[in-house]
């Protein structure tokens, strides 16, 4: 192109001063990160949908699995998780109020709303810890394998175990002794090992004790795996019939007839993948909430030190706010697809 020149001016050539998005570098990068993180969560939820679609009727239903409240026991379907959702929405609102206060350079307002947001975040993480603990320990009935090979989850009110009365002496116990400690734990442990037989509990030291237990109420068995007699999706077994087949299986003296709670190998709620998805998706989200709280605390320290006030703008609060809202956004979807549908 010898001998030929073109005149360039600011109108024809982008001078580099103005951003096409008219936003700062930091905010733009936060948005790009959030898009990639959103894709990760979407991938997880779609994998969950895929697995669930395979399993069909065997998949647990939200209101059957999550129906407990702290201090109140069970019979409150979805109420606790709704409360968690509400806490997270409120902490999202306090965050957006902190951002708004930042736009007015109101340092005191930013401080107060940030503190409120952090408290909400801790409440949510704590609630999730309770939920995990409850999920892992499971119900008092567990999931039972009935005589025909079908598996059922059990709803209803478990009659309290009053005591164990020794009827056959062992190494550590005499006949007639009444055991009153750690009954539920001993009972479930023995049930898993197949050490319950005909209303008696067998201990490792050779002691045999009679189980004194109050009657259960409103027992209902929902079949989750078909057997020779009972099918998935059939009417639940209730009342005396339910008690008969349940205790027949529980007191059969066979190991592995009952599963309590959940771990990575088995769970009482449904297919094995269910617990794995629960742990991974809510765990991954919980980790996001936890890191969000930590980032909020760091930013709060910056606000208290006056770093952003000196800088002339509170954009750091806005950027962490974006992350915090995103965490809320993900929970909205987890809530729908894991708990409601």
């Amino acid at each position: 192109m010898a001998g030929h020149t073109t005149q360039l001016d600011a109108k024809t050539l982008w001078g580099g001063k103005e951003s096409p998005f008219q936003t700062s570098y930091g905010k733009l990068m936060m948005w790009f990160f959030l898009v990639s993180d959103a894709l990760t969560f979407s991938g997880l939820l779609i994998a969950y949908g895929f697995t669930r679609h395979d399993a069909q009727d065997a998949w647990p239903i939200g209101e059957e699995t999550f129906n407990s409240m702290p201090f109140l026991g069970h019979g409150y379907p979805l109420l606790y998780v709704a409360l968690m959702t509400f806490i997270l929405i409120v902490s999202s609102v306090t965050m957006v109020l902190a951002v708004e206060a930042g736009h007015r350079m109101d340092r005191k307002g930013v401080t107060n709303w940030m503190i409120a947001t952090i408290i909400g975040g801790f409440f949510f993480v704590g609630s999730q810890a309770w939920e995990w603990s409850h999920f892992i320990h499971g119900s008092e009935f567990g999931k039972i394998e009935l005589a025909d090979g079908s598996q059922a989850i059990v709803k209803g009110h478990f009659g309290e175990i009053k005591n164990f009365t020794v009827i056959e002496a062992g190494k550590h116990h005499k006949v007639g002794e009444v055991m009153k400690d750690d009954l539920m734990h001993e009972f479930q442990h023995a049930a898993e090992k197949g050490h319950l037989e005909g209303g008696n509990i067998h201990f490792a030291d050779g002691t045999v004790a009679k189980i004194n237990k109050a009657k259960d109420h409103e027992m209902k068995l929902i079949i989750k795996k078909s057997g020779a007699k009972h099918e998935i999706g059939g009417t639940p077994i209730t009342g005396a019939a339910a008690e008969k087949v349940y205790y027949e299986a529980l007191y059969s003296g066979e190991a592995n007839r009952v599963v309590y709670g959940a771990n990575m190998k088995q769970n009482e709620y449904g297919p094995q993948q269910y617990a794995q998805f629960f742990f991974f998706i809510t765990g991954f989200h919980g980790f996001h909430v936890f890191s969000g709280v930590m980032i909020n605390i760091i930013i709060l320290l910056g606000v208290l030190a006056g770093t952003y006030h000196k800088r002339g703008h509170y954009e750091m609060v806005e950027k962490t706010g974006l992350y915090w809202h995103f965490v809320d956004l993900v929970w909205v979807f987890v809530f729908t697809f894991f708990y409601l549908i």
Binding site: L39, I89, F326, L340
Partner: protein, 122 residues
Amino acid sequence: MERDDLIEYSLHTHHDEAKGKSIRKKILKVTILLTVITTVEVFIGAFIKQSNDLWAFVKWSFIIMTLVKAAYIVMVFMHLGDEKKALRNVILIPYAIFIAYLIFIGLWEAAEVSSALKSFGF
């Protein structure tokens, strides 16, 4: 501090008390809306069982309510509604295309796997 080689967009977001008041009013409205939607979802979820004939309708209304909530969070709380149109499109369009494809392929394959399991079992 002002620089002449670039524009500090961080300073452009400042507003006065009057504008702040109207923004806070909007936030309050969205809060109430999100709370109401969540309450409705929980009520429906607790009372209408999956065996109910209405379930297909309920399921879709859950999905729509979730999308409405998500839209309010993204557009109002995350201020994406106030950003430039170009930024909005850069965030939303690639995501929407990719997810639509992923959902389609996920459900399609799941249905195939499900019917294969039914035919051959294991």
